[in-house]
């Protein structure tokens, strides 16, 4: 049995930022994550937008946190050495219904204190974003909207929390939880932990984790989302984040020029059972292609390099009916943060959970501090962290100097994204244990060949670091990439 003050369950964005904020207190923090690495759940598959706060109702926790988080996002990213592009957004309307939505968002945004909002006519909108369809009738410009790499942000929070003393335990799925006189007893696959406070950030499973000790009141009913990714060859084609507000019912389209020059298109909204979890649906991908052609007609869709799917953790109030828990009314739109005698749960935190991750981390850490009787501050807490050096982003002189210091930075492993051996080795040193772990830390394998050329050397580096043969190294899904050695050696 191991003792800790706060056990955080789940190492997605929310768990990592909760842990980071908690390490500012003079307490022991342990993070229990079911998977082998951080950022494998919803945090790895979302729209990557830093919202301004004009989409939510005034006076709510969500709005308050979002407006503040957006304002502070530049500082946060500087502290954590994370790339952030405040590219601004255009919400585009193609008819009267959508125009009304834009006007409402303008008023709402102003009331929420979002700076710089402006309505633009079709001419102005197309001057700012020449690729936009000629059919656009009105656009809402929000200069404060930005984009961040959610993997980079999550990993940065993890590394910073770890540096400040948080103890991350991977492959520790919490299966049982019980209340004791002094707090909680948590059982994972192969260990037991005693904690005074539990912070439940289990993402899609946050309801199930809560129900290990509590009666159901809120449950998550997921829906699925599909995305397309276009190559960085389209970089510059779309300069702002574009929200297409559809005239008919439906989800519309969002386009995001990402921090590494690619373009993200999505998300769709479809029932969970239309495809296996985390798998894309053909109808979803075709819908996105059609929407792209409508909103930005010249977009070279043949530059698509990948598609992926996500799950939305929609929370609903539930009530018991003949021994069954059935959902009531519409999905809860506010952030659901529950504190029940030392069990703090974040349930169904959807958009803008990425934007608000740091703010929510502080929010739950304050809650935990109250339960623990306001412990002192951690005198050694340092909020800053340095990321892995990206040779590609350096000036020629700096890159040359780096190679002189360490020749590994002269050897390119991922040609599509210009990632060097030095970066890959550093990612592994910092905790990557799968191909995707390396990809999320360095970008290797994200380009047009999708790992075709760099998979093999990365597998071999992972194998060497883990002291196993390459066929023991797994991808995200837990399966090995190659099966073994050829019986007769090389054919």
């Amino acid at each position: 049995m191991e003792y800790t003050d706060v056990a955080v369950i789940g190492a997605g964005l929310l768990g990592c930022f909760a842990a980071r904020a908690l390490t500012a207190l003079d307490i022991r923090v342990t993070v229990l994550e079911a998977r082998e690495d951080v950022c494998t759940g919803i945090s790895r598959a979302n729209t990557a937008i830093v919202y301004t706060g004009c989409d939510t109702k005034p006076g709510t926790l969500k709005t308050e946190l979002c407006v503040r988080a957006n304002r502070d996002f530049g500082r946060l990213c500087r502290e954590l050495d994370v790339r952030f592009s405040r590219c601004g957004s255009l919400m585009a309307a193609f008819g009267p219904r959508a125009e009304a939505v834009l006007r409402k968002k303008l008023d709402q945004g102003r009331e929420n204190g979002v700076p710089g909002l402006e309505l633009l006519g079709p001419g102005e909108a197309r001057t700012m974003e020449p690729g936009l369809s000629r059919d656009v009738t009105l656009a809402l410009y929000a200069p404060g909207t930005g984009t961040v790499d959610p993997w980079e942000l999550c990993i940065a929070a993890y590394e910073n929390a770890r540096a400040n003393g948080a103890d991350f335990r991977f492959s520790q799925e919490v299966r049982r939880m019980a209340r004791t006189e002094s707090g909680f007893l948590l059982e994972t696959t192969d260990n037991t932990y005693a904690a005074r406070v539990v912070v439940n950030c289990a993402g899609l499973r946050a309801d199930a984790v809560r129900e290990l000790t509590e009666r159901p009141t809120v449950r998550i009913f997921p829906t699925a989302a599909d995305y397309l990714v276009l190559d960085d060859t389209v970089s510059g084609f779309v300069k702002h984040i574009i929200f297409h507000e559809p005239e008919e019912k439906g989800k519309g389209l969002t386009l995001v020029p990402t921090v590494d020059g690619a373009l993200l298109a999505g998300p769709t909204e479809r029932p969970r059972d239309t495809a296996p979890d985390w798998a894309t649906a053909r109808e979803g991908l075709e819908e996105l292609q059609a929407l792209c052609a409508q909103v930005v007609p010249g977009l070279p869709l043949e530059e698509t390099i990948r598609s992926f799917a996500s799950l939305r953790p929609n929370p609903y109030a539930v009530r018991e009916e003949q021994g069954q828990w059935v959902r009531e009314g519409r999905s809860i739109s506010s952030f659901t943060v529950l504190e029940e005698n030392g069990l703090i749960s974040l349930i169904g935190v959807k958009t803008p959970g990425l934007t608000c991750a740091a703010a929510l981390g502080e929010y739950v850490s304050d809650m935990a501090a109250r339960v623990l009787g306001q412990p002192g501050r951690n005198p050694r807490f340092d909020p800053s962290r340095r990321g892995i050096v990206r040779a590609h982003d350096l000036s020629e002189a700096d890159r040359a100097a780096l190679i002189r210091r360490c020749p590994d930075y002269g050897q390119i492993v991922c040609r599509c994204r210009d990632v060097t051996l030095g970066e890959i080795k550093e990612a592994i040193r910092r905790g990557a244990v799968t191909l995707e772990g390396v990809k999320r830390r360095t970008g290797a394998g994200m380009g047009r060949c999708q790992g075709g050329r760099c998979m093999e050397p990365i597998l071999e580096l992972l194998a060497e670091a883990q002291g196993v043969p390459p066929w023991r190294v797994t991808g995200d899904g837990g399966a090995a990439m190659v099966r073994g050695e050829l019986r007769h050696g090389r054919v």
Binding site: A400, G477, G478, V482, R490
Partner: protein, 288 residues
């Protein structure tokens, strides 16, 4: 800054042949190759059929020996990162980052394979999905077993050659799936690879969906004329969906879609060639 008459980017058959031709004319040539050795795609093609009956590496050997005996300045393990309009290029290797100056440049960077993830193929992204060329490299250069029960999507030459190689290695090739009404690739490969090894072929079909969570367990096949769909179990999926000239380096240099007069393309980077002899012949003529 070092100066050259000609910078050749890529040390495959095309780059080597172009370098040799230029050196023969007395030009000072720099040949930059990112891999540790020259040869390009030839190195992983262990089948015979190059320039008559040679294997890929044997064919490459002949060219490499000639390059080594020539005045061409060869740098292996050296990636060309960028070409600038002022006729300099940025090279990266373990020994450092450097700019070189040149009069002319030949881009012989070969081609890349179209990945399945660029198509609207639905499903998960499990282990066990490879492009045919990656599979070929993993098996032939890495010595890795990539799995059994193989479905090959697309019927390009590389896919057909891999079907034969897998069959020879004792693996079961479930089917080649081709959307057109006949196989692609060279007639020679159809005969020697597909027919000789009785590889099942599904024509006018495509893969709609990839199934499986950790490792691939099957594909959803769709018969295009009828729309009929069925699940085809498999343990590995290779894709041979076509090759695309790899011209990333000259993207920023295009002026109204045209290359500057000092830059030429050759080999598979110009257009995809079936036969290495034609690559070599054209490359020798491409040299300025």
């Amino acid at each position: 800054m070092e100066e050259f008459d000609l910078l050749v980017i890529g040390g495959g058959a095309a780059g080597m042949a172009a370098s040799l031709a230029a050196a023969r004319r007395g030009q000072r040539v720099l040949l930059a190759e990112r891999e540790a050795r020259l040869g390009g795609i030839l190195n992983q093609c262990l089948h015979s059929g190059f320039g008559g009956g040679l294997t890929g590496p044997a064919y490459a050997r002949q060219l490499i020996d000639r390059v080594n005996a020539s005045a061409v300045c060869v740098r292996t393990g050296t990636d060309v990162l960028r070409i600038f309009p002022d006729r300099t290029a940025l090279l990266s290797s373990r020994t450092g980052l450097e700019r070189v100056e040149f009069q002319k440049c030949i881009l012989a960077s070969g081609c890349r394979e179209r990945s399945v993830w660029s198509l609207p193929v639905a499903g998960s992204r499990p282990a066990g999905v490879f492009t045919a060329g990656t599979a070929q490299k993993l098996m032939n250069l890495g010595g890795y077993d990539i799995g059994d029960g193989v479905v090959i999507m697309g019927s390009g030459d590389v896919g057909q050659i891999m079907a034969r190689q897998l069959a020879q290695a004792g693996k079961r090739v479930v089917a080649i799936i081709e959307q057109r009404d006949q196989l692609g690739g060279l007639p020679r490969n159809r005969r020697d690879c597909v027919e000789a090894y009785r590889i099942p072929v599904l024509l006018q079909c495509t893969v709609d969906e990839i199934l499986g969570a950790g490792r691939i367990r099957g594909v959803m096949v769709r018969h295009l004329p009828t729309g009929r769909r069925w699940e085809l179990p498999c343990g590995t999926l290779l894709t041979a969906l076509g090759l695309i000239p790899d011209r990333a380096l000259c993207r920023e240099l295009l002026e109204d879609g045209a290359l500057p007069e000092w830059l030429r393309l050759c080999g598979n980077c110009d257009y995809v060639h079936d036969m290495v002899d034609s690559v070599v012949r054209e490359a020798a003529q491409t040299a300025f």
